[in-house]
């Protein structure tokens, strides 16, 4: 693993939904080595622990990364107060990202709520080969739909209350898709119950599935063993660490 820590300039900031912010950050040395599914560990001024935030865009030519995050507590609130032109302290890129395979002909990218942003770098890679299913609480919480469309991906939108797109959870349209064979891989990020259901559907239909997990973490690089997650590797129970072994895991490895 290769990572760096430094202060990087925020080139652009926008609020893309209620309490959800998008930053474009100039960090060529990080963008150069970052890959889909990895995260950045951001220092929130005045807090002991950094906040892990998944990477939503990698532009190696411009040397930028994009992150999209929701204000969930005091730490993310502090980070959201940074503005265009300010510097942001990041330790990045961290973690084990998604497995990308050029031979895949059709992939499904599934994002639940603030689990949607890490799907965008995959859509940039797979483009027309991808179907993006994303689910949100309601129409006000919907993000990134145009970004996904711009990659050429097909998009399916769901909301819990039916105020936009399909009324229901992402698992409903996904189950339909999964039955019609021809899906080479599924990548998902979102709430645990959603990931658990998707993993099961993939298992039942024999589809390769990778999921991105979240856990409270401290060091972010595998030293402190704070972010444990119970997995199976080579038939043995293994306490993996979300920051280093993950955040992306093969769904079959995770013990629910």
């Amino acid at each position: 693993m290769k990572y760096k820590q430094g202060n990087y300039i925020i080139l652009n900031k926008s609020a893309i939904a209620r309490e959800i912010y998008s930053f474009e950050i100039l960090c060529p040395e990080i963008a150069e080595i970052a890959s889909a599914g990895q995260f950045v560990h951001i220092r929130a001024e005045g807090f002991t622990l950094r906040r892990p935030i998944s990477i939503c865009g990698i532009d190696k030519n411009k040397g930028t990364l994009r992150i999209v995050f929701e204000v969930r507590g005091e730490g993310t609130e502090k980070i959201s107060q940074l503005n265009k032109g300010d510097t942001i302290d990041m330790l990045a890129p961290l973690g084990h990202g998604f497995t990308v395979n050029d031979e895949f002909k059709k992939v499904v990218l599934i994002g639940g709520g603030i689990g949607t942003p890490p799907m965008l770098p995959l859509a940039e890679i797979y483009r027309e080969k991808s179907v993006v299913i994303s689910g949100f609480r309601n129409a006000y919480a919907v993000i990134l739909q145009d970004d996904f469309k711009n990659t050429g991906a097909e998009t399916i939108l769901c909301t819990d209350d039916g105020s936009a797109g399909i009324h229901g959870f992402v698992t409903q349209p996904f189950e339909e898709l999964a039955k019609n064979s021809g899906i080479d891989a599924v990548y998902a990020c979102g709430p645990m119950p959603m990931l658990k259901n998707i993993s099961k559907i993939c298992k039942d239909n024999n589809i390769f599935c990778e999921i991105s997990l979240e856990e409270r973490m401290a060091c972010g690089i595998g030293a402190c063993l704070g972010c444990a997650c119970c997995t199976v590797r080579n038939d043995e129970e293994y306490f993996a660490h979300v920051c280093k072994d993950g955040p992306v895991f093969n769904a079959e490895e995770v013990i629910w």
Binding site: L49, L91, L225
Partner: protein, 303 residues
């Protein structure tokens, strides 16, 4: 350039800064950012006789100016440490403090015996992990038990033996005297203070273990007080830690009586913290025209 070197139990440290046990693993992850050689030493992750999986997550919580952890001594076991980690670290030109723990005195003794024929420089016996049901917290809170485990491990090792003390006691100086009398060559303190946070929306504790160890800047004044009390009570060196996040903090802890300083949670905030602390100590000493860091150890002038 002030002289930052210190000597503890006959072992030379090029500078007094040591990443604390549990925050630095066995060093690999931070080596990606800076050469380990810059450090005075490293206290390796608490290692037990057999592999331990640790506690169920969440194991980490933020607190005002600090954090809680309940990792619960997850580690690959002493044999793995000796075969896979130690040889690599020994090539790095810094002092290796092998932090060990056990559920019973017997386990601590066995772990120390296994290290006897290695080239590890010092043993740091953790008698104070608050996070495991049988992780030695009991040893650390009773003078008799602390004395007994020290006595038995002392017999098992010829290496310099540092006993790491728990702050979760009425009188840490009494525990320090008890372990000194049974042959500890040094003491290190403080381990974490037992704490708890609750998510008021769900009514659930944030840590799955319910309680965990508090560390970070919030505990710093407690550490200064305890290091000072212990340094006044014993004649063996004291290695100080607890909330150190700047060179000034490290100087303060040394003035209170610490011969070296470990750095824990600060590394999570700034992974370069140990390196910056070394530079800042040097700057402070130069600005005061103090030629050696040894001159400040225990130099506080109490009222």
């Amino acid at each position: 350039m002030a002289d930052l070197s210190v000597k503890i139990c006959g072992i030379d440290f090029k500078n007094p800064i040591i990443p604390a046990s549990g925050v630095f693993g066995y060093g690999h992850e931070y080596e990606e950012l800076f050469p380990l050689e810059k450090l005075g030493g490293i206290a390796t992750k608490g290692t037990t006789l057999h592999r331990r999986t640790g506690n169920i997550a969440p194991r980490i919580a933020e607190t005002p100016s600090g954090m809680l952890n309940s990792v619960g001594l997850q580690n690959p076991g002493i044999d793995h440490f000796i075969d896979k980690e130690l040889p690599y670290l020994l090539g790095k030109n810094l002092v290796i403090l092998a932090n060990i723990a056990g559920s019973t005195t017997e386990e601590c003794v066995q772990v120390a015996e296994k290290l006897e024929n290695t080239d590890v420089h010092m043993i740091e016996l953790n008698i104070s992990c608050p996070n495991v049901k049988h992780g030695g917290a009991a040893f650390g809170t009773s003078c008799d038990l602390a004395a007994e485990v020290t006595k038995q491990v002392r017999k098992a090792t010829s290496k310099p033996l540092i006993v790491k003390l728990s702050p979760n006691v009425t009188s840490i100086a009494e525990i320090a005297k008890a372990v000194e009398s049974e042959g500890a060559d040094a003491v290190s303190l403080i381990n974490t203070l037992l704490g708890m946070r609750i998510n008021i929306n769900t009514g659930r504790p944030i840590l799955h273990n319910n309680v965990g160890g508090l560390s970070g800047p919030a505990v710093f004044p407690v550490a200064v007080r305890m290091v000072w009390q212990v340094a006044n009570a014993v004649n063996i060196p004291v290695i100080g830690m607890g909330g150190v996040s700047s060179g000034k903090d490290a100087i303060e802890l040394m003035m209170a009586g610490a011969s070296a300083v470990q750095v824990g949670a600060a590394i999570f905030t700034d992974p370069y913290a140990p390196i910056k602390i070394i530079d800042e100590m040097n700057e402070f000493l130069d600005s005061k025209n103090i030629s050696s860091v040894r001159d400040i150890i225990g130099s506080v002038k109490p009222w």
